[in-house]
């Protein structure tokens, strides 16, 4: 009994340590005085086979930095879906939340099991056709973007509120603790994002499913679980006895994945949590390396396959006939290093790493700004934050090459948009008042915003006024002018995607029409 207790303890310890490790990397995903982030902060996606799949199916070369994902697939082929039971941070969160919230009974309808495979097949078929939505359902992306967009901001808001209160009421211990928290355990600025609540609702829904059935998400919906399941059908690590024992059948209710049946053990469903080895009253159950055996796997009919492939194959072209979002929405600004928009959408797995690391809090998740299929992709919202001239962090953390890692010199020359004045609102134009805040902040060494002095006549006297002007061959679209414009509401200078380095055609036009 002592030994079997250790197995559960082992698994839980590994789960908690992995979760803490990923949380630690998450907190490190921030500028800390060095231009290069010293830790592999996006490790979670470098081991993510779905991210690797998205990368593989996108045009352009495969990002070999994703090699750990391939290692994970090989290990899964040998040892089964241990990732789901031991490492996946969403799985660990689900286990923890289920313990607190209570869990539903097993569903009788075992037909649900195949939904995840059908979803995976649909997503992969769509990816082949040019529509990549893997990231929407990738559990690791769901985990990290929920953390980035919802939970971490809420955590910071709570702590900031507490420390504000302590400051106002002069509470000694809390006031002393503040610098420790601020420098190590909190974001430098209170994080704020556009889709926080929606992102949280999706996450809560997945947690709520635990009330329907234990590990409902992992059993029935998770496409990563499906991919790992497909790899582990012939896993060498197998359970003995494989089927339920006629005299006991406790595994049928104990197994969180409901992988043990009278007809045998479903290797592709088992997450190798080893609970059954602990809970077996006769201590009969054990796992051993035995070589592949025929297993009682989830049955996918030919018709199921056909329907899911057809769905993906249909969705891809229909999505592509939608008008190009970046042409329809002039304010769709992508981070520097973003590849061509269609390739970008095929590479971005919506993980949220770039939004987390963005030093100016300029990157926000898209809702429909980038079209129906651009949900959660990063947008630069220049009114909320600007792209810091000497910063290259987003390209450093992007796991799939949707954002290229730009050397600083190249980044400074990368044009992500063009600033345009709204002369009806800009103070010198509209009200003949001095301002030039945009010119002051413009970061290019030869300023992209300059001014001309003009004589203006108002209330009976003539005076000189400095009128700003954007030089389109200098502007890189960083957006600091839009962020800092002192007007209330909409800025009087806005960045549009009229000129972008990543779209060579508009760049060619730049030479003639705008240069």
């Amino acid at each position: 009994m002592k030994i079997s207790l250790t197995k559960v303890t082992w698994r839980r310890t590994v789960q908690v340590l992995c979760l803490l490790g990923f949380l630690w990397l998450f907190v490190q995903t921030e500028y800390q005085g060095q231009d290069q982030i010293p830790y592999p902060v996006s490790l979670l996606f470098r081991i993510d086979p779905l991210a690797a799949l998205a990368d593989l199916l996108a045009p352009g070369a495969f990002s070999w930095s994703l090699w750990p994902a391939l290692v994970l697939l090989v290990l899964t082929a040998l040892f089964g879906r241990f990732f789901c039971g031991w490492i996946c941070p969403l799985g660990t969160t689900i286990d923890g939340v289920g313990k607190l919230s209570g869990r539903g009974p097993h569903l009788c309808q075992s037909g649900w099991r195949k939904v995840k495979y059908l979803l995976l097949i649909t997503l992969v078929a769509a990816s082949f056709g040019g529509l990549q939505l893997l990231g929407l359902f990738d559990p690791l992306a769901i985990f990290l973007r929920t953390l980035t967009l919802a939970i971490y901001p809420a955590y910071n808001l709570g702590l900031n509120g507490l420390f504000d209160w302590a400051y106002r009421h002069d509470i000694p211990v809390l006031n002393d603790l503040y610098p420790v928290f601020r420098d190590n355990l909190m974001a430098f600025f209170q994080p704020s994002y556009t889709l926080g609540l929606f992102t949280l609702l999706v996450f809560l829904l997945i947690m709520l499913l635990e009330r329907v059935e234990r590990r409902f998400w992992c059993k029935n919906l998770c496409p990563l679980g499906a991919l790992l399941g497909l790899c582990s059908r012939r896993a060498l690590l197998v359970r003995q006895p494989d089927a339920l024992c006629p005299d006991c059948q406790k595994c049928a209710t104990e197994c969180r994945m409901e992988a043990v049946h009278a007809t045998g053990h479903q290797s592709s469903e088992c997450v190798k949590c080893l609970d059954c080895t602990d809970s077996c009253p006769q201590q009969r159950v054990r796992f051993g390396l035995q070589g592949p055996r025929p297993q009682a796997e989830v049955n996918l009919s030919r018709r199921d396959l056909l329907v899911s492939v057809a769905a993906g194959v249909l969705m891809a072209p229909v999505a592509q006939i939608a008008p190009q979002s970046h042409q329809r929405n002039a304010f769709l600004i992508r981070p520097p290093g973003a590849v061509d928009e269609s390739e970008f959408l095929r590479r971005c797995v919506r993980c949220g790493e770039c939004m987390k690391v963005c030093i100016g809090q300029a990157l926000h998740p898209a809702w429909f700004e980038a079209g129906a299929t651009g949900l959660w992709t990063p947008l630069l919202v220049a009114r909320l934050g600007y792209c810091e001239y000497n910063c290259t962090l987003c390209g450093q953390v992007c796991p799939t090459g949707a954002l290229r890692r730009l050397p600083l010199a190249e980044k400074r020359k990368t044009v992500i948009g063009l600033a345009v004045f709204d002369k009806d609102r800009c103070l010198p134009f509209a009200r003949q008042e001095e301002c030039l805040v945009c010119e002051e902040h413009c970061p290019t060494p030869d300023k992209a915003i300059v001014f001309e002095e003009q004589l203006v006549t108002g209330s009976g006297q003539t005076r000189s006024l400095k009128i700003p002007k954007v030089l389109s061959d200098k502007c890189i679209g960083c957006g600091i002018c839009e962020t800092r414009c002192p007007l209330g509401g909409v800025s009087a200078i806005r960045v549009t995607n009229e000129i972008e380095t990543r779209h060579p055609q508009t760049l060619a036009e730049r030479g003639s029409a705008y240069g």
Binding site: F188, E388, Y389, C391, E433, E434, E440, P445
Partner: protein
């Protein structure tokens, strides 16, 4: 010291209002006056920055004239931009360091360094070299810190010309001494940015709004946060593409410091380094008009 009377006056206004739980109201007219009729201005040149700071301060009677034992001192450099020292956008880190050394020698109990930056504060502190310079003291008496967003206090300004209410950084008002060490550089709207405009780094709010009538706005905040000593860093001056620059070719080495307890006088003398007259600088003109200091070069006692 005249500025100190004013500093104490404003501090007491702030503190009594905070105790009463009301909005502090600074009446600019009833506060003690700042200007003397013929300010002492120290202007020195030298290649070695440590020696240069020493010479400049000695001419004014040494730092002991401004800082007494046990004082809490705010040293306010310009750390506004994510730019390296050689680009002339921020106060030179060696100037900051030498000034702090003099404060410590004069017996300051605590020296605090901060600035409300324009670019990301972490990048500015690191890449200006100022964070490393301050931390090199390794002393608990010297601290560089990021602005604490909780410490901004709204202050009502009676007789303020452009600002009637604004957010001020409490540690800047509450310190015993405030030593202003701006860098001298080009600025499109104010022609030059010098000591007076450097005070924009200790206020909060939507600072761009001050640009509408910047001379009076900057004078308003200077009347609330008086500088006990202004040391303008003109070791190198940024001539074009200010206030953040980016080309070394826009920077000229002058190896000069200008210091005075009269901020308008210090700014006026610095303007001449660029070939301007004090009248060309709107902040200087507004400051002089409203009694913040003297801009008439002929009335200054140069040492």
């Amino acid at each position: 010291m005249i500025n100190l009377d004013r500093r104490q006056f404003i501090r007491s206004v702030l503190q009594s209002a905070l105790v009463a739980g009301s909005l502090p109201l600074v009446d600019l007219l009833s506060a003690p006056a700042m200007a003397t009729t013929s300010p002492l201005v120290s202007r020195h040149k030298g290649q070695d920055i440590g020696q240069l700071v020493e010479d400049t301060l000695t001419a004014l009677g040494g730092m002991g004239n401004f800082v007494t034992a046990g004082d809490t001192v705010v040293v306010k450099p310009n750390i506004g931009w994510d730019r390296a020292p050689e680009l002339g956008a921020n106060t030179h880190p060696e100037v900051v360091k030498a000034v702090i050394e003099h404060c410590l020698e004069a017996g300051a109990a605590q020296v605090r360094v901060f600035d409300n930056t324009c670019n990301d504060p972490r990048r500015c502190y690191v890449n200006s070299g100022i964070q490393a310079a301050v931390e090199s003291f390794g002393s608990s008496r010297v601290r560089i810190e990021h602005m604490d967003r909780r410490a901004y206090q709204e202050v009502a300004i009676k007789e303020g010309r452009e600002l009637r209410r604004w957010q001020f950084y409490r540690p800047a008002i509450e310190s015993d001494r405030f030593i202003n060490i701006p860098v001298a550089k080009d600025h499109s709207l104010t022609t030059l940015t010098l000591g007076m405009k450097n005070i924009m780094g200790v206020i909060g709010g939507n600072r761009g709004r001050l640009h509408r009538r910047i001379g009076d706005a900057v004078t308003d905040i200077n009347l609330v946060v008086p500088s006990d000593l202004t040391i303008v860093d003109a070791t190198r001056i940024l001539l074009r593409n200010g206030p953040q620059g980016g080309h070394e070719r826009d920077v000229e080495w002058r190896h000069t410091l200008i210091a005075s307890s009269d901020i308008v006088a210090a700014d006026s003398v610095t303007a001449t380094l660029f070939g301007f007259q004090p009248e060309d600088i709107p902040t200087v003109v507004a400051g002089a008009k409203r009694g913040l200091g003297v801009m008439d070069l002929s009335r200054m006692r140069m040492v």
